[in-house]
């Protein structure tokens, strides 16, 4: 799909960009790095599109959401402040939901926003607030060392982009060898949803008022419906028509109707049937996983934890430096069982 030398060249440029964008001490060319990485990503997409020809490329929303999502992802891994990283991750989640919409997976798009942006990320924000110290009064908010300095940025980026090179080469080879894409979803599920079909046929005037569907079967690619009025209706997607046969059963009274536009299996219905009929056991497993996680989280967070010896020592020296009259011996044993920092200071005074 794309010349391999060009691909590898762009990946090298992208890797250099990501390395520059990672946080470091001293000269920190984050904006430049993000620009270089973004340029490489944009060129990669451009060449992919040029090679494919204009009629095959995805629509404009794909490019929009992909750019926002990847930009957010880059910012998640490069922003020194955890809160901002979490907020940028929400941006990535929203962009992914947009991509899901373009892929006509509406249910998953909204489930993603509700579960990820609504629940998981809020939990993250809570923990960030629980596990960071507010700057003490009169002190400037300084970032911790481990936030401002990335660990081995060059080695990690090399590893990552070698993996990316392997992945993209395999992907371009593999997608060409896939079987032809599926064209339509068969209407077999319509036979399993007689009430919905009944409602739609009734509102479109195809079925007589007050009639209900007695049985619906999937026969040779068509849905055969028998109504309580003795009428027989055949939904034939291939010719896009509905044929109704009168109660006397002769084809001479056969009536043809256009296919109502709403008469199709929607995304949520397809997903529901797939989830609950084709994979019923997995739901149970998911429930058990969630229950165990909940129990685990409750048990873990109830535990009383003491500061370990190193941290205790560091805290004592810090307090002693802040206040020369503080004497670790006089108040011993210092109550360092988990307490907010403010009560610790009161103990020091």
């Amino acid at each position: 799909m794309i010349n391999p030398y060009l691909l590898f060249g762009l990946l090298v440029v992208g890797g250099v960009g990501v390395t520059l964008a990672l946080p470091r001490r001293g000269v920190n060319p984050q904006v430049l790095g993000a620009g270089v990485a973004g340029l490489a990503g944009g060129l990669l997409m451009l060449f992919l599109g040029l090679n494919a020809g204009t009629e095959k490329i995805p629509n404009i929303f794909f490019y929009l959401f992909a750019a926002v999502g990847l930009g957010g992802a880059l910012r998640v891994i490069t922003h020194p402040r955890p809160v901002y990283a979490a907020l940028y991750f929400i941006m990535t989640v929203l962009a992914s939901a947009g991509l899901f919409l373009v892929l006509s997976a509406e249910f998953m798009a909204f489930a993603l926003i509700i579960v990820y942006a609504g629940a998981i990320l809020i939990t993250y924000l809570f923990v960030i607030m629980l596990a960071t110290q507010a700057p003490e009064e009169g002190q400037e908010d300084v970032l911790a060392d481990y936030d401002t300095q990335a660990n081995e940025p060059i080695a990690a980026t090399v590893v990552g982009f070698v993996l990316l090179a392997a992945l993209t080469v395999m992907l371009f080879k593999g997608t060409g060898a896939l079987p032809a894409p599926a064209k339509t979803i068969p209407d077999v599920l319509l036979a399993d949803m007689p009430r919905k079909v009944e409602r739609l046929l009734g509102t479109n005037g195809i079925m007589a008022k007050g009639d209900v569907i007695d049985r619906a079967d999937w026969v040779k690619g068509m849905v055969e419906i028998t109504t309580s009025g003795g009428e027989k209706i055949i939904l034939d997607r291939a010719s896009n028509t509905l044929n109704a046969v009168g109660a006397d059963g002769t084809w001479s009274v056969l009536k043809q109707h256009a296919w109502p536009e709403d008469l199709r299996v929607t995304n949520a219905e397809l997903l529901g049937f797939n989830l609950l009929r084709d994979h019923p056991g997995t739901i149970e497993i998911a429930g058990v996983i969630l229950l165990m996680a909940m129990l685990g989280a409750v048990v873990l967070s109830r535990k009383q934890v003491q500061l370990d010896d190193d941290a205790k020592q560091a805290r004592v020296t810090q307090l002693a430096q802040a206040d020369p009259s503080f004497d670790a011996g006089s108040e011993s044993p210092i109550e360092l069982v988990q307490q907010p920092a403010s009560s610790l200071e009161e103990a020091a005074r």
Partner: protein, 116 residues
């Protein structure tokens, strides 16, 4: 014969292999960004955010494949990815709070020697 695609307006066109390739490239880039973040950042919370980023990328790839084959097992898989991500976030964050109480730091390197 009328236009087949008209009736199934939810799925207006066949997804080409080229389009699938675009989505997979985006998923691959996002996954690798998450991996680089996990390897380089030293803040425990950001490391777990990076794993979530990798889950996202896997989800995009699964849904793109599902759309290509019009097979909804792809979306079912993403539901379970979401479940596992939620379970993982709950456990990981409980652990992080516990670790923070002990060392008053989120630095992953503080925990380089652990004793049972």
């Amino acid at each position: 014969m009328m236009n087949l695609t008209l009736a199934q307006s939810g799925f207006p066109e066949v997804m080409s292999q080229v389009t699938l390739g675009h989505y997979l490239v985006v998923a691959a880039i996002m996954f690798v960004l998450g991996m680089i973040g996990f390897l380089t950042r030293r803040n425990l919370i950001i490391m777990f955010l990076c794993t979530e980023l990798m889950f996202q990328a896997a989800g995009i790839a699964l849904i793109a494949f599902g759309r290509y084959h019009l097979d909804f097992s792809g979306q079912t898989f993403v539901i379970f990815v979401l479940t596992v991500a939620a379970a993982e976030a709950a456990m990981a964050l409980a652990l992080i709070v516990l670790l923070y109480r002990r060392k008053e730091s989120l630095n992953a390197e503080e925990w380089k020697d652990l004793e049972g």
